[in-house]
């Protein structure tokens, strides 16, 4: 009997799925955003999907897989786009979709199971006490809170609150280790960084405690500009207005808004660059006053002045932003891809100008303004009109030489997609929590190849990757 067959019998009574088509479907995330990852990982699939309903069932799965040396890759909703939930060596997909309860709500705090859909959490906290999460990805209506913490960095709300990595944006996590006898750890404070943004390589996050803020009926606004750089200067100035409460602020260069935002196309000329904004309803007077003072800006659309029938036809502004911009682009033009860039403070506007001049319409700009270490600056998620992998690497190199670090979404390892260095805390915790290295194998280079040279220009090749 194969190890997987033994596992199935040992996990009798749990929700198991071994239909190859369904297993393959649950073995995929949004890795296909990247033509590079699509080629590398398209064949990847697990052997079995287990969908636990309780922490006790998670422990049972991890104990059994540990004994049988079966890899376990944890999955939320599979909306990540760096391949975080792809089971490179097969084995078990641990699908947390059924661990989705909101456990408690109090002023400023929600506790939920890791598989809870982010928008569903907000529905409950809004109804309970007019509160909502500080941060969410553009996949608000599908992503799980655990998956966001395990692989996200920030998103909608980062204009006010910074990123997930910032102290205070995650309050505590329950994590189950993969040992002969799995332990349940409750991490908080400095210990959180051990498992955050670790793709589930060193523990299974089963429960999260997150800060809440006041919920509002955010007003979606599109502001148009004839010149992209005017929109960037405007967004930078707006973000520095301390009294105007925003949740989202993203300049997108022409012709992307017209070409990609199909439901909003009627509001946008093809040569208009657009800033996608979410504004607190009571701040609309102040926002309009500020916008009028800036010149060259024209408000193209505001949801608080649209009728019900129109509103029903339009996606929310956050589904025009972050990786939904890319997603909408891919639907219109499957040949494009994208990058993730940081334009460091205080030269963010000037650096955007240089990259815009350098690449023109080969790398059309899409910026996301955020708080970063207490300052307003911007990330970029520029579209790339993809030709070859070599040219993509060159575009990356030119950004980095200009002082604009790239978080490469065309790599599936934590290090290559991130800071290109070993995270000593994550590595040390993996030694403790996953001694056999069975959790999401192949994603942490520091574990797979401790002597790997991050300064080389090579791409890491995980030897355990299932052959295509």
């Amino acid at each position: 009997m194969s190890a997987i067959e033994t596992l199935k019998s040992e996990l009798a009574g749990l929700a198991l799925e071994d239909n190859p088509q369904i297993v393959r479907q649950k073995s995929r995330d949004f890795f296909w955003y990247s033509p590079v990852l699509k080629q590398q990982l398209d064949h990847v699939t697990a052997d079995l999907v287990v969908t636990p309903r309780t922490e006790a069932e998670v422990i049972r799965v991890l104990r059994a897989c540990y004994a049988l040396d079966i890899p376990v890759t944890t999955r939320g909703a599979g909306t990540g786009n760096y391949g975080q939930a792809m089971p490179l060596s097969g084995g078990v997909i641990l699908n947390l979709a059924d661990m989705n309860r909101v456990l408690s709500i109090r002023p400023g705090v929600v506790v939920a199971e890791a598989g809870a859909i982010i928008s569903k959490i907000d529905e409950e906290t809004r109804a309970h006490s007019g509160q909502e999460l500080r941060l969410h990805p553009s996949t608000y209506r599908t992503a799980t809170i655990g998956g966001f913490i395990a692989g996200g960095s920030g998103g909608v709300g980062s204009i006010s609150w910074g990123g997930l990595r910032d102290l205070g944006n995650v309050l505590s996590l329950k994590v189950v280790t993969m040992e002969a006898e799995p332990r349940v750890l409750h991490l908080k404070g400095a210990d959180l960084s051990r498992v955050m943004h670790a793709y589930g390589t060193n523990g299974v996050i089963t429960e999260v405690e997150m800060p809440l803020t006041a919920a509002y009926d955010w007003v979606d606004v599109l502001v148009g500009f004839d010149d992209f750089m005017d929109s960037v200067v405007y967004a930078d100035a707006l973000a520095n207005q301390d009294g105007i409460l925003l949740k989202q602020l993203a300049p997108v260069v022409a012709p992307l808004p017209h070409d990609y935002f199909l439901r909003h196309q009627k509001y946008i000329r093809r040569d208009q660059s657009v800033v996608v904004i979410m504004v607190a309803p009571f701040a609309m007077d102040a926002f309009a006053t500020f916008t009028a003072s800036q010149g060259r800006a024209s408000i193209l659309y505001r949801s608080d002045q649209a009728d019900e029938a129109t509103l029903k036809t339009l996606p929310p502004a956050y589904e025009l932003a972050w990786n939904h911009t890319t997603l909408r682009g891919l639907r219109v033009d499957p040949t494009i891809t994208y990058l993730q860039v940081l334009y460091p403070y205080p030269d963010q506007v000037e650096k955007v100008r240089r990259m815009t001049e350098l690449f023109g319409d080969e790398v059309p700009g899409h910026l996301e303004f955020v708080r970063f270490d207490g300052k307003i600056t911007c990330f970029g998620l520029p579209v790339v009109r993809y030709t070859t992998e070599a040219r993509l690497d060159e575009i990356i190199r030119l950004h980095e030489e200009a002082g604009c670090p790239i978080f490469n979404p065309h790599r599936y390892t934590l290090e290559e997609g991130g800071m290109k260095q070993t995270d000593a805390l994550q590595l040390a915790f993996k030694r403790e929590a996953d001694p056999k290295g069975l959790l999401n194998p192949g994603k942490m280079i520091a574990w797979e190849d401790p002597d790997y040279d991050f300064s080389s220009s090579k791409v890491f090749l995980f030897s355990g990757l299932t052959p295509a």
Copy 2:
């Protein structure tokens, strides 16, 4: 019959007070913080106090005083300390204390009459929907919201929201003009700056619409340092933590905390500088983690770990901060006074270091960290061990020469206490709203003496000031 006697008969039925002792008491604010203003203004008194209960009564008072050429100085609770409510030419004190109702509350917004006490507004908005005002002065429990808008600049909450001047921190104001037939204007957006921080010189604010934010049971914390500059560096870094929600952040140099914070004295060594902080309760883990990472910082007191009996003996942290630091100092040592300084970003820490080295214990530092134009920086409200007016002027000059602007609290005019230039919007609106110049006379130099040379080092002398 004198004009005042005529006025009394015309205002029959309104709440009038002409007992000289009570009138004198209601003609005073906290001008005596300044030894300079104390000398200039101690004799000032109105002739009559009128306490209207409705907007209609305000209109009646202004109409009658206009006809009789009687000056009107509007008063909230008289907690300002630049002499804003001192009736320099006598006449009527318009006391808004009885116009104190909260009119409506909705998500993010409260509407209240101008005479409402700020803490009373928060009591109602907290009970209604867990909301509170963004900003308040340290005189939270006595000051009125209208007085704060007419003369304040920011305070507790400015670490998150910037100042009152920032778009979005006041939503709309109702203002009554002083004309033959007074008008009621509803100002919002760009028009708000006409009457904000104008000391009631160009209209009587009767109703305010203010933004609200989520209310929490803020935790009061004192963090101690052996070296003041370490406390400044710490506070600057803490303020730049985007995920740690604070409401207040004020370093105070030794020996002030020990000597002035008498109820907290048992927690503080005399050679300890202290940072006075208000932290959201759910952020305490993150706050403690950050503080532990900074070294040299020790948490001396946190209200969430104090017992009920102790809590009853201690004032809230906001009553150790802003001008309450000064007030506590004056109680211990009536010979001191203070200044108000801006240390502009990005050199705030270095500028504080230079001033600290230059003046030592003659000007002991008290800083208030705030958001200012989107960046973290700090104001100073340093104590000054007062000797002579000449030395005080020299201390001011040395600050300004070092690039640290002074908002001089030893002057009673808007310009000298502020930006030392005509506010064209305020002046234009005064022409329209107070054509006879009867509202709070002597406070707006641009009105009294259009050709005044603000670059001179002279002190403005208002010719209408009642002789001592």
